[in-house]
């Protein structure tokens, strides 16, 4: 029923993003910002690489504060993420919007984007680069949650932790998934600002 309604709405061009997508999107935006900001502070307590994040952009003031933020926002991120992915699959939105991703189209659209010839006239249709990035960031989201669980509960969820190559390796996976999401966000936000109607569509739905 829901799926039908949404499909009709998209087909008539009335609604680009149904209400559930917009709600999930902005809850996720909030949660992921808190997770990244507090995650940087947590990283700083025991850096994996030869750098730390500037205090000014890290959330929580110190490790205990950052952990409180991280383990509070994780519930929002995970519950919202489960709702989003479930609805995305059940309503057919993922299949409709994100597939198929053809490598040849990705290359062509990347070229078009590089020369500013990529059309954004129809916001309800994703180009191949968008499909790739959105699919990628959803997968990065799954990886960051699973690797996070591996670090949080390496005894209770030790089978999962082992899947990532053990506790220490899971920390690197968690970090790399964060880096991927931050990389996505830079492109995502830059493009939303370049094409303001796409931002409007994520707020009003059209």
């Amino acid at each position: 029923m829901t799926a039908e309604t949404i499909t009709t709405a998209v087909d008539t061009g009335a609604t680009i993003h149904p209400r559930w997508v917009r709600i999930c999107h902005w809850i996720n935006a909030l949660a992921i910002l808190v997770m990244i900001g507090s995650g940087w502070q947590i990283y700083n307590a025991s850096p994996l690489f030869g750098f730390v994040f500037p205090r000014e952009i890290a959330l929580g003031n110190w490790l205990a504060g950052a952990l409180l933020w991280h383990f509070a926002a994780m519930w929002i991120l995970v519950v919202n993420g489960i709702v989003y992915v479930t609805l995305g699959i059940v309503t057919g939105r993922f299949r409709r919007k994100l597939y198929p991703i053809r490598p040849s189209e990705v290359v062509a659209d990347l070229k078009a984007a590089a020369t500013f010839k990529l059309s954004h006239d129809d916001l309800s249709h994703y180009n191949a680069v968008q499909k790739l990035l959105y699919t990628g960031v959803i997968l990065a989201g799954v990886v960051i949650v699973l690797s996070g669980l591996s670090i949080w509960k390496p005894v209770q969820f030790q089978e999962l932790t082992a899947l990532f190559g053990g506790y220490d390796a899971a920390r690197y996976v968690h970090f790399l998934a964060m880096a991927a999401i931050v990389g996505f966000l830079i492109v995502h936000i830059a493009l939303a600002l370049l094409v303001p109607k796409s931002l409007r569509a994520m707020i009003t739905g059209r």
Binding site: W26, A29, L30, L33, V34, I36, G37, S38, Q41, I42, Y43, N44, A45, S46, R55, E56, I57, A58, L59, G60, N61, W62, L63, A64, G65, A66, L67, L68, W69, F71, A72, W75, I151, K153, P154, V155, Q156, Q158, A162, Y167, D168, R171
Partner: protein, 257 residues
């Protein structure tokens, strides 16, 4: 029942290398600052949530909720992974909120472990008596709240065995530990009874060195490092959560792995 205090900053003299990463600047208060992320947050929500004890209170409530969630996830029988001797981290790191030179020096000849609370026998234990307890060994991963981990080898007696011998009421909720330097720690009874929770007297089959908690530490591979007290001089079986050194400063109480 649970006593939780926020200590805004600490004696700066205590700030040393490792702990420095854990401690807030004495001049700055609270958990909630972090300009850019929160700036974005303020922008998104249209309200300023940086200020106020409300946000801090909410975060602490969620942390208590997380204690419950972790207790529910905790399996009393699931064992932490164990490792071969070749995997032991060398040298195993010293870690505390003070310098290694300032670690407590406990005199083993006069040492007595005090046992208090809901136990039948409150007779203090000498080191000789403790050493005579049955010995088990484990090579497990010590995971610090900071994120790093190290594999160590610990020998001692299961805490559950000791609790049985002193006639502890294991229906009690908590076991509280006090350490020579004043460090304290409360753990939940299910963790106290976990088969790998150990009253540790040896590291790598040698008498526990001062750096690692001589004469006794409580080793729990199912909890973060700071929940594994060293230089333990007293324990109490209790239904009252007496908190702990780091927990009172805002670290999550359960801190299970």
């Amino acid at each position: 029942m649970r006593k939780r205090r926020i200590i805004p900053g600490v004696d700066p003299k205590l700030l040393i290398k490792d702990a420095g990463k854990l401690m807030p600047d004495a001049s700055r208060r609270g958990f909630l600052r972090g300009a850019a992320s929160l700036g974005a947050l303020t922008f998104l929500t249209g309200c300023d949530i940086i200020d106020g004890d409300t946000a801090e209170g909410v975060l602490r409530k969620i942390s208590e909720f997380n204690d419950g969630a972790q207790a529910a996830l905790f399996s009393p029988t699931k064992l932490a992974p164990t490792y071969p001797e070749s995997a032991i981290t060398k040298p195993f790191p010293f870690n505390a909120y003070y310098d290694e030179d300032d670690a407590p020096e406990v005199d083993g000849k006069t040492y007595k472990l005090e046992v208090a609370g809901l136990v039948e026998n409150k007779k203090p234990w000498t080191l000789e008596e403790l050493y005579a307890l049955p010995e088990v060994s484990q090579i497990t991963r010590h995971i610090c709240v900071e994120g790093w981990s190290a594999i160590g080898s610990w020998q001692g007696t299961p805490l559950s065995e000791f609790l049985k011998r002193v006639g502890a009421d294991t229906r009690a909720k908590y076991v509280w530990f006090k350490c020579a330097e004043g460090y304290t720690n409360t753990i939940d009874m299910p963790t106290a009874l976990h088969p790998q929770t150990q009253m540790t007297f040896k590291f790598a089959n040698r008498v526990l060195p001062r750096a690692y908690g001589y004469p006794m530490k409580i080793r729990m591979p199912t909890k973060l490092g700071f929940k594994n007290p060293k230089y333990v001089v007293a324990m109490e079986v209790t239904n009252i959560d007496k908190g702990g050194y780091w927990e009172d400063k805002g670290y999550n109480w359960f801190s299970g792995l």
